[in-house]
């Protein structure tokens, strides 16, 4: 039971006993002050309910306290003993109701959903861009919150929120239950995804579901990295993936990425065993039974890590990758881990100094590795872009024009958004004639996408990856709910033409295109998952070497 409720019940019981005693004592020692004691249960009741909130099951206690207050009016011993006794009896009733009646101090997850959903509906700045059908989402998710309230299951509530956020296909749409970090989806997904079967599936360049990160013990079945899987538990890999509890949560704003990860959840379907059909070395279909092993979420996290180059280099560190090229690893858009940096001058000075040294060593090209960079502070992206971009002016972003009266961003007659302030950065071209390759993945998002986009505006920059950036760049606002914190963008940043900056639209088209798409083929799979190579980095180095030889 709630501590304050326990205190209330105990205090009222004691008060009832004392008042019963006082009824007789007041007769022996007449004093009008005795009357005031009969107000005590009411005062206690109001104070404790004010602190802990009202619980309907404690209503008998409140009624008892009010009845006890009548002892102030009528001063006969009999009447006062009756009201004291009534207080005691009703307090016991309240205690029994709390203990025996289900639903004591229930969490109202549904009310939280209504509050959060209303806020989303009103404030989400990309709703029109993504053509969100709020009514359909409401009808789809409300029953899940009803269930969470009925079962009082926090996990159901959190997964429903994560699913709802996932349906917006926006990396900046998140939910964290109270007392948990923003990366809350990890522990919850870890739990619901359950066991894996020693492999994951990705889509290769030809559209096949291919096995990756395959446990060496599966070799006996003939399953290895690159094996094409044609069915999972008798279903197509895509159909099987849709059965995963993570299916509505792990979504992508970009259709390319959505396709790339189409089969990502497939190999987690099944409890003890899974029936896997694949093409063997001779191209013949074979079906085997695989036993569950390890946690599937951990396996997927490993796949993503390897896919992103598995680099352990610290943020803003350099690594020579060839005689003429160095790699600048930017793990996050935070300098010294801070979001409140006002002046990036010292950071730029440090990078200038580093580049000067590298150039003296004969390095003239740079690979900027933004894979796995989940963003941070946009001004840092601007500062880095200013260093590397070719000389000239670049529009980093434009503000939307906020219409205070209608509480929305103003639109022009052609349907595009009206453009407010323009934010310009000036390229310094610190590398001179040197070329720049920017490595990205679907884990490159938010402020890292600002950097990717800005760098991409320069002719000396090539954006390269197996797949594009995530496509979520609008800054996030938060709504504090009773049982958690909901985050999603309220603000809208635009391109100069009034189109939405970077973020994926209803068709899954984002504002950043790859210049070079490296094929995710057997060579890449073998290199990454068998040899532990950074295949994308190798292709970037080759690309720069080819550019040098061509020039």
């Amino acid at each position: 039971m709630n501590t304050y409720d326990t205190i209330l019940i105990t205090a009222e019981m004691i008060a009832a006993a004392i008042l019963f005693f006082i009824a007789g004592k007041a007769k022996e020692l007449p004093n009008t002050k005795w009357r005031l004691a009969y107000l005590l249960p009411s005062v206690l009741c109001v104070l404790l309910i004010a602190i802990s909130g009202l619980e309907v099951r404690l209503l008998p206690v409140c009624i008892g306290a009010v009845i006890a207050a009548a002892g102030l009016m009528k001063e006969t011993v009999f009447f006062r003993r009756i009201v004291s006794g009534t207080l005691g009896a009703l307090t016991v009733c309240g205690l029994l109701l709390c203990l025996l009646l289900p639903g004591y101090r229930n969490k109202d997850y549904l009310a939280d959903f209504e509050t959060g959903f209303t806020a989303m509906r009103e404030r989400y700045s990309l709703a029109e861009h993504k053509q969100i059908d709020w009514d359909s989402l409401y009808n789809e998710y409300r029953p899940r919150f009803e269930e969470a309230t009925r079962t009082q299951d926090e996990s159901t509530n959190t997964l429903a929120w994560l699913g709802l956020c996932g349906q917006l296909c926006d990396g900046h749409c998140t939910y964290s239950p109270n007392g948990m970090e923003q990366s809350v989806e990890y522990p919850y997904l870890r739990e619901v995804l359950g066991s894996g079967f020693g492999l994951a599936l990705l889509q290769d360049t030809d559209g096949n579901a291919v096995a990756v990160h395959v446990d060496p013990t599966l070799e006996i079945y003939g399953i290895r990295n690159g094996t094409i899987v044609t069915a999972w538990n008798g279903m197509t890999p895509e159909a099987a993936a849709k059965l995963s509890p993570g299916f509505d949560i792990m979504t992508y704003p970009n259709t390319d990425n959505a396709a790339f990860y189409r089969y990502f959840l497939t190999a987690g379907i099944g409890t003890e065993q899974a029936e896997v059909t694949f093409l063997d070395e001779n191209g013949a279909e074979r079906t085997v039974q695989l036993a569950a092993t390890g946690n599937y979420y951990d396996l997927l996290a490993d796949v993503k890590r390897q896919f992103n180059g598995n680099s352990e280099l610290p943020n803003l560190s350099w690594q020579n990758v060839s005689d003429t090229a160095a790699c600048l690893r930017i793990r996050e858009m935070l300098w010294d881990g801070r979001l409140d940096v006002k002046d990036y001058g010292p950071m730029k000075a440090q990078l200038r100094e580093d580049i000067q040294k590298l150039r003296e060593e004969g390095i003239h090209d740079v690979i900027i590795d933004l894979r796995g960079n989940g963003g941070g502070h946009i001004p840092m992206a601007q500062a880095i872009a200013e260093l590397f971009n070719a000389e000239g002016e670049y529009v980093m972003a434009c503000d939307g024009v906020w219409d205070s009266e209608n509480r929305c961003y103003r639109k022009a007659s052609d349907g595009s958004y009206e453009v407010g302030g323009r934010y310009i950065c000036h390229g310094e071209q610190i590398l001179g004639d040197g070329r720049i390759v920017v490595l990205v993945s679907d884990s490159t998002f938010s402020a890292a996408e600002y950097l990717t986009r800005l760098l991409g505006l320069s002719d000396n920059v090539t954006i390269m990856g197996f797949n594009g950036t995530l496509g979520s760049s609008q800054p996030m606002g938060v709504v504090e709910l009773k049982y958690g914190v909901l985050g999603f963008p309220f603000t809208l940043f635009l391109e100069e033409d009034g189109s939405v900056l970077i973020d994926g639209d209803a068709e899954g088209k984002t504002g950043i295109d790859l210049d070079v798409r490296v094929p995710f083929d057997q060579a890449a799979i073998h290199g990454i998952f068998d040899m532990g190579e950074d295949h994308l980095m190798q292709r970037a180095v080759e690309y720069l070497e080819q550019a040098v030889s061509l020039s």
Binding site: I49, A50, I51, L54, G420, G421, F493
Partner: protein, 260 residues
């Protein structure tokens, strides 16, 4: 009872210290409006809307300072010089004595509180303009509803006057009420809005706000003015019931009370 009401009304009209106290509190309230920064910044200038958003609890609680003084003087002032006992000996019923004083104290304190709470709004409107976050009607709705918890507090002070029989303690309680109401309101955030007058005031002053911003420093504050269903009715009903209860308790406490 009419005679008691008339007597105290006449007394109030000629009580210079009461007038002075009222003017002092009005001045304090005006100063709060004039010197407050609200939630303003260099980019977002002060306006009445800003003042209301940032200082609701402060200006809605300033009247306690005056209520403590006025109710204390009207209801408990005559305990000190025993005038009240003379009235009793002259044949006035106790309930008439309580209600006569109580009605004057409630009406006078309530009317003065209306002026005190409106003063900073008028001052900021003239000095800085109304602002754009919500309309005057939106404010008036919340303000009118929040007068009910104020009425409830006045009735509570009347009850305390007949309980404590000391107008100095009432004045101190008025000052304490002004200082502590905000803290209590925040401390009791889980409580139903209608439970206490401070929870009602805090709830009515809680505007849900959110912001959109530019890549520069410009910030647009959006204020949700709607009040949740049931809050208004529960606050009004709760306040009226509690007010009536306090008056009944005042009569009950004074009825048959020792006169020493």
């Amino acid at each position: 009872m009419k005679r008691i009401i008339k007597t105290h009304t006449y007394q109030l009209m000629h009580d210079r210290s009461m007038h002075l106290m009222f003017l002092l509190v009005v001045f304090l309230s005006a100063a709060l409006g004039f010197f407050s920064e609200g939630g303003s910044t260099d980019d977002v200038p002060l306006s009445s809307c800003h003042f209301i958003l940032g200082n609701w609890n402060a200006f809605m609680n300033i009247p306690y300072l005056f209520i403590g003084y006025a109710v204390g003087t009207i209801c408990a002032g005559d305990f000190g010089d025993k005038t009240l006992y003379i009235e009793l000996l002259s044949g006035v019923r106790r309930v008439q004595l309580v209600l006569g004083r109580g009605i004057v104290a409630i009406v006078y304190s309530f009317l003065c509180s209306v002026v005190i709470t409106l003063t900073p709004i008028v001052v900021t409107s003239f000095a800085y303009g109304w602002g754009e976050y919500f309309t005057v009607q939106d404010f008036l709705l919340r303000w009118v509803v929040s007068l009910f918890p104020l009425l409830r507090s006045i009735c509570a002070f009347v009850m305390l006057a007949f309980l404590l029989k000391n107008h100095y303690i009432l004045m101190a309680l008025g000052f304490g009420g002004m200082m502590s109401s905000i803290q209590f309101g925040v401390l009791f955030s889980e409580a139903p809005p209608a439970l206490l007058s401070c929870t009602s005031t805090v709830k009515l002053g809680s505007f849900d706000t959110w912001q959109v911003f530019s890549m520069g420093d410009e910030v647009h504050l959006v204020v949700e003015t709607a009040i949740r269903d049931g809050v208004i009715s529960s606050v009004i009903l709760g306040s009226l019931i509690a007010s009536a209860l306090y008056i009944v308790l005042s009569c009950a406490i004074f009825h048959g009370d020792d006169m020493n």
